[in-house]
């Protein structure tokens, strides 16, 4: 019985080891960020060292459950994951619905796809009194 569940135990231990290693690496990167930020503002004096120790203790050991996730989110946003979400939820449905194509379905995303923008521009221009009057030719 023990030998039968040993692969499962090894797999679970490996997952736990992987998770703890990645948390440790994440803590190192957060510590590097703190050190870089404090030195950038205060230089390398004794006040900077005290501040680094204090902030590191609070961030790494007291409230890492919050700052770890916040750091990962900040890094992902810095690398442009918001653009991916915009592509997924707003631009992509417009393309897939045939926006701007001939014979396709009307655009699903009215605000962000090119098809939606074209439709709104045409509707805007078609309204009477909306078209800008050009000056008479000289």
């Amino acid at each position: 019985m023990v030998f039968e569940i040993m692969p499962l135990m090894f797999a679970l231990l490996s997952i736990g080891e992987f998770f703890s290693d990645m948390v440790f690496v994440l803590k190192i990167f957060v510590l590097l960020t703190i050190i870089s930020w404090v030195i950038m503002h205060l230089g390398k004096g004794p006040l900077a060292i005290v501040l680094i120790v204090g902030i590191s203790w609070f961030v790494l050991f007291d409230a890492f459950w919050f700052f770890g996730g916040t750091y990962v989110l900040m890094m992902l946003l810095t690398l442009g994951i918001a653009g991916i979400f915009i592509d997924l939820f707003f631009v992509f449905p417009g393309f897939a619905a045939g926006a701007g194509g001939s014979g396709g379905l009307p655009a699903e995303a009215k605000m962000s796809s090119q098809g939606g923008v074209n439709q709104r521009m045409q509707a805007f221009k078609a309204k009477p009194g909306r078209a800008r009057k050009l000056p008479p030719p000289m």
Partner: protein, 117 residues
């Protein structure tokens, strides 16, 4: 808010396309791991690239000095020696797919391929 959005997209058959995008993402992220497994030279080259990347990143934070060497050594042990395949996959996902906007190209390509018009 997001629940309604997902429901709306699912009604239009978008959920299958989302699954296609996830599969494409997983395939692209898995490619470097497979290449590292099949070709030992690629394994070494990827590890060297990761070492350079880690050293450059730490030096950017701490400057040149003994602490940089120490922190780089710790990070190299965990990221390059112990969990090299995971780090290679994350490197490809973060730098190629996110920072260089390649994932947007994948989404755009699948969207144009599934276009109904």
């Amino acid at each position: 808010m997001f629940g309604n959005r997902f429901l709306e997209l699912n009604q239009q058959g978008m959920l299958q396309i989302f699954i296609l995008i996830v599969i494409a993402l997983v395939v692209v992220v898995t490619i470097p791991v497979l290449v590292m497994k099949v070709f030992p030279a690629a394994d070494w080259i990827m590890r060297i690239i990761l070492i350079f990347l880690i050293f450059t990143t730490v030096r950017g934070y701490l400057g040149s000095g003994i602490p940089t060497i120490l922190v780089t050594g710790v990070l190299i042990y965990f990221l390059v020696i112990k969990w090299a395949y995971f780090t290679a996959a994350v490197y490809i996902a973060v730098y190629f797919l996110l920072a260089l906007q390649v994932f947007s190209i994948i989404i755009f390509g699948i969207g144009m391929g599934m276009r109904k018009g």
